[in-house]
């Protein structure tokens, strides 16, 4: 009886640990590579819970269907879990896929694993963020520094090139968070001397936390003219703060990043001036295409810039923009 209980407890614990270890996987396609000659691309993403990654996944899946390729798409539960992402990469290598598509959470930590892929002769392409290794054939990414600078230009324009602004970031570690922030800050410094960035804080992309941060910023800096949120959670958090404080639309210029229904609604209603969007669906498609090309030995550039766009009330329903926005 006692043994039974212990065994049960151990079982639950083991299950819990294994759950934590894999974080979660996007789509559960059976393991094992290239059965029946269908090419198989293993995609290791930075995450899967965020809308952005869901859109990348969708782009990849559509492309895979078109090319008659099998793909798996997985990523860790949080974009801080560098270690569990590497375990996923390791597992992918062991499955001997036709090609691996990888988005590095940490540019250094991934190097040994990429070397193993090289040793196993598996071509590697990358998306969103690269690993510091020469082996991967192609990196499809958005130039986040440039995107941040574009957000800065629009912010400056909207507030009349002078006044106080602040930034709600989503990460001070992860590369997109850092680059979107630095691109924005550098541009402000270089081009708009009359604009003062009074505060930069980080809400981990958590909507509630970001809202509380934005409220404190607005409270602490009564002359604040603009707020910039570096991803969907940060931007929507700012919008929530503005709503909760009952500020009149336009009193504060809010600029966001990425899309998602709440952000789109905020732009339509005028609470948010506009936002930068990448093309995650296009990124997913381009990545699968690159992976197949790489497996066939085609040559291609080291980096493919995937596009990013400014969108606001005026252009968000244009076909080109609407295609890259996700709800």
């Amino acid at each position: 009886m006692k043994l039974g209980k212990k065994a049960l407890a151990a079982g639950v614990l083991a299950a819990a640990l294994s759950l934590t270890a894999c974080g979660g996987s996007g789509s559960a396609t059976p393991s094992g590579g290239g059965d029946g000659g269908t090419p198989y691309v293993a995609m290791i993403s930075k995450g899967f819970q965020h809308q952005f990654w869901q859109a990348v996944k969708k782009g990849a899946e559509d492309k895979a269907k078109e090319l008659n390729v099998k793909i798996t798409f997985e990523g860790p539960a949080a974009e801080t879990e560098v270690d569990s992402q590497l375990q996923m990469l390791q597992a992918a290598i062991d499955k001997k896929p036709t090609a691996i598509a990888y988005a590095a959470l940490d540019p250094e930590a991934c190097v040994p694993a990429i070397e193993q892929a090289k040793a196993a002769n598996i071509p590697v392409v990358q998306f969103d963020a690269g690993c510091k290794s020469d082996y991967p054939v192609n990196l499809a990414k958005t130039n986040s520094m440039d995107a941040g600078a574009m957000a800065a230009d629009h912010m400056a324009e909207l507030i009349g090139k002078s006044g106080e602004i602040a930034v709600v970031g989503h990460s001070q570690i992860n590369s997109t968070g850092v680059e979107r922030r630095d691109g924005f800050l550098n541009e402000m410094k270089a081009k708009y001397p009359d604009i003062k960035v009074v505060d930069v804080q980080y809400g981990d992309g958590d909507h509630l936390k970001s809202a509380d941060i934005a409220k404190a910023m607005i409270q602490g800096h009564p002359n604040l003219k603009g707020l910039y949120g570096t991803n969907e959670g940060s931007a929507v958090g700012i919008v929530n703060a503005v709503t909760e404080l009952g500020l009149k639309p336009g009193k504060l210029t809010v600029i966001g990043f990425d899309s998602g229904k709440a952000q789109l609604d905020a732009i339509r209603s005028g609470l948010m001036a506009g936002a930068i969007t990448q093309d995650p669906i296009g990124m997913g498609a381009a990545t699968v295409q690159a992976a197949i090309d790489a497996s066939k030995g085609k040559s291609m550039p080291k980096v493919t810039d995937t596009p990013f766009y400014w969108y606001d009330k005026t252009n968000m329903d244009d076909a080109k923009i609407a295609a890259v926005l996700y709800q």
Binding site: K5, L8, A9, V12, L13, A15, A16, L19, T20, G24, F48, Q49, H50, Q51, Q54, A77, A78, Q172, V198, D199, Q201, Y202, D206, H207, L208, A211, D212, I213, K215, A216, M217, Q219, G220, H221, P222, G233, V236, N240, T243, E244, L245, G260, K261, A262, D265
Partner: protein, 338 residues
Amino acid sequence: MSEVKSVPRTEASADAVKRESPGGSFLRQRLQQSLAFGTLIVLLAFFSLASGNFFTWTNISGILLSTAVIGILAFGTTLVIITSGIDLSIGTGMTLCSVVTGLLLVNLQLPLFIGVLGGIATGALMGLINGLNVSILKLPPFIATLAMMLIAQGLALVLSGVRPIYFSKVQGFKDIALGQLIPGLPNAVLILVLTGIAAYLVLGKTLLGRYIFAIGSNEEATKISGVNTGKWKILVYTVAGIFTGVAGVVIAARLDSAQPQLGSGYELQAIAAVIIGGTSLLGGRGSVLGTLIGALIMSVLINGLRIMSVQTEWQTVVVGIVILVAVFTDSLRRRREA
């Protein structure tokens, strides 16, 4: 020697408490037990002096609003922790509850109250399962609720299809948190107060509360006194689950959406609030008022640091230090008393 030093300080803080609450002896007695209250006053005074923007009604109401979710979770957890248990599933469990509410209201377009009750019932169900695992299967609460934490996290993602559910089309849902039945005060704060009163009544005035303290104090003795401790423990976890459900509805209403990836980490903040408020992890000791003060300390501190534009990294460090200091002074005081 140390005794001599300690005396004036204790008296001073007791005086401070007295000044703040000229009212009932009950309140005074409870507050005196809690150094946390003194800490809260010191923090409020400090930030008011440090920044002219801190002590405004908008900001105070903002602080109260940001206390709501963690506070409600912490009330439920207080009950569990006094039994010397723990509930790690409240953070992601809260998220699951908000996702269920979303499914009921958005996907199935059921009436508002059904969505709300559905979310709360989901919390109760999770709590019930936690309670059964602890009481019947005799799993340690840490393990049982850790498992539930992961299950809830997974289910929230599965049920939502890894997408946020937006309530923008559900009339009046947002008002649950952000409407103002009392002008100037968001409803979420009202719910925080009401759940606090409910938790206080449960703990202080009902049989369940009595057995919560008894079990935490000496479970074996309670059992041989003829109390069916297993049954009551199941009830404790279930009631804690109801609080989780309420928190789930409140956070969904505040964000006007159910964010399935949210929630992990909220349990630790809630537990920290409970501990700062003077509830013992060893059980048998604790109060709802203390927990409220603990939750307020956390949100006042974070809000104040944000207003002063302290770097996010350092904010985290300061919160950690405050938890250490609060718990340490509390245990120091107890050691003196003992």
